[in-house]
Amino acid sequence: MVDTRETTYPGRLPRWGNADLVDCDVQVAVGSVDVLAPYLDQRWRDYLSESGVRAIDPHQYPKGAPISALPGSAPATGGPPGSDLGLLRAQVLDRWQARYAVLNCGFEISAIHNDDWALAMARAVNDWQAAEWLAPEPRLRASIVIPAQNPELAAAEIDRLAEHPGFVQVLLPVRAEAPLGKRRYWPIYAAAERHGLAVGIYAGGASGNPPTPVGWPSYYLEDYVCLSQAFQAQVVSLVSEGVFTKFPALRVVLIESGFTWLPALMWRFDKNWKGLRREVPWVDRPPSEIIRHHLRLTTQPLDEPGEPRQLIETIEQLGCDEMLLFATDFPHWQFDTEEGVLPSGLRPEVEHRILATNALETYRF
């Protein structure tokens, strides 16, 4: 069901003038596995068709839910929203006059339990992104999809693609098998750091762990809202495990995480660190300093309060103008007012940082 309310999906805001803009979260969807066939070895093509696998759908976005797709973002010729370059050009690149857009493909590799098959699918998705998105459209950049469940294979896949200038990021699911700071994931960070790639943590993952610290909720609404808690735990894990001590050049981008929860988390985390530091002695600065230095967050969904002033105050509480990266989260439908794009009342230099500068400093464009 599509929301039948009168919708006014805004585009580029007039107050931005000609300012530079980078959209740091544009979702591309694979749809049927047939799309990937040209990029899979014959062995895997036959394996898929002979076992009847048509698609890998983790149900992260219920097809009909009003949040899942902007009206008009699904191609008339069939296929899911976010699967058509022409629409993406019109609705993202042209509409927002984006200098770059970063593609994040949420193809749920983490739902695959066979490491070899997972790698084959990841490779296919990456080659598909390179051939069908990056090659024809110079404004696009993409994220490397990896089998995070096997970090050695994942690192090899990163190495394979690292020379391709179109890839700027490596994707990890926020709902992972283990907290992402754990050492088992470090080969992935080593590879990302080696190649100047950011690590993006996206709002997905099918690890089998319950999505909340108290088990499985009943509703999709809860599932989606509680993603922010999964992100909070990953921030705590990455810092506590010393990932940024080990990989000082690493940048991590939280994608579709919300960000208004971060000030409170930093306060709580810093307070605990002052007393429990000896447990994680490699964390040699207050966690908030590490977070501000290494972490970036995309702006959508903007969990805005009724009063814009409160959102401005919360952004100021972050204590750093370099953390937020503009995003539309296309084709997800996250806003229908200008205030839902970015709050009015930001200082212009902060707004320009959010629109482009922060992204240009984060990604190897």
Partner: protein, 149 residues
């Protein structure tokens, strides 16, 4: 700077401490390998009785998984929220520049130097501490810890 005779050396063996009250201030006296240090017994955070906390060492690390355990017996952890302070300087470990507790100078002095008349002591800048005269006048070979407030 008033000075107070606050304890005998024998009272505080290495690794031990004594909490004293001087001028209505609670102060912790620590013997670290034969050297005596004094810090205020009030944590700069929420006012916990800092000197009653665990005396431990410092765990440092350059890299995850590597632990360097140093200065054992020189770090007191506040009994409340576990902030770590260097008993020798009063500096906190996590924020040495800004978070510190008042540290006081101490000296060890012998009976002979103290066992003269009160007038001499006052002249020398001493003030009567909790140790009354009979303690240091009777025990001829005793050594005293003197706190410089």
């Amino acid at each position: 700077m008033p000075k107070y005779v606050v304890a005998t050396v024998d009272e505080i063996p290495p690794g031990q401490r004594k909490i004293i009250t001087v001028e209505r201030r609670s102060i912790g006296l620590f013997n670290v390998n034969g050297d005596f240090y004094a810090i205020r017994n009030q944590c700069p955070h929420e006012g916990g009785p800092l000197c009653e906390g665990v005396l431990s060492g410092l765990v440092r690390s350059e890299m995850p998984g590597e632990y360097e355990y140093v200065r054992r017996g020189e770090i007191v952890r506040c009994p409340w929220h576990q902030w770590e302070f260097d008993v020798r300087t009063g500096q906190s470990w996590f924020d040495p520049a800004k978070t510190r507790v008042r540290a006081y100078e101490t000296t060890v002095e012998t009976t002979t130097s103290l066992a003269t008349s009160d007038a001499d002591l006052v002249d020398a800048g001493y003030t009567k501490g909790p140790y009354e005269a009979e303690t240091y006048r009777v025990e001829v070979d005793q050594q005293y810890i003197v706190l410089h407030l």
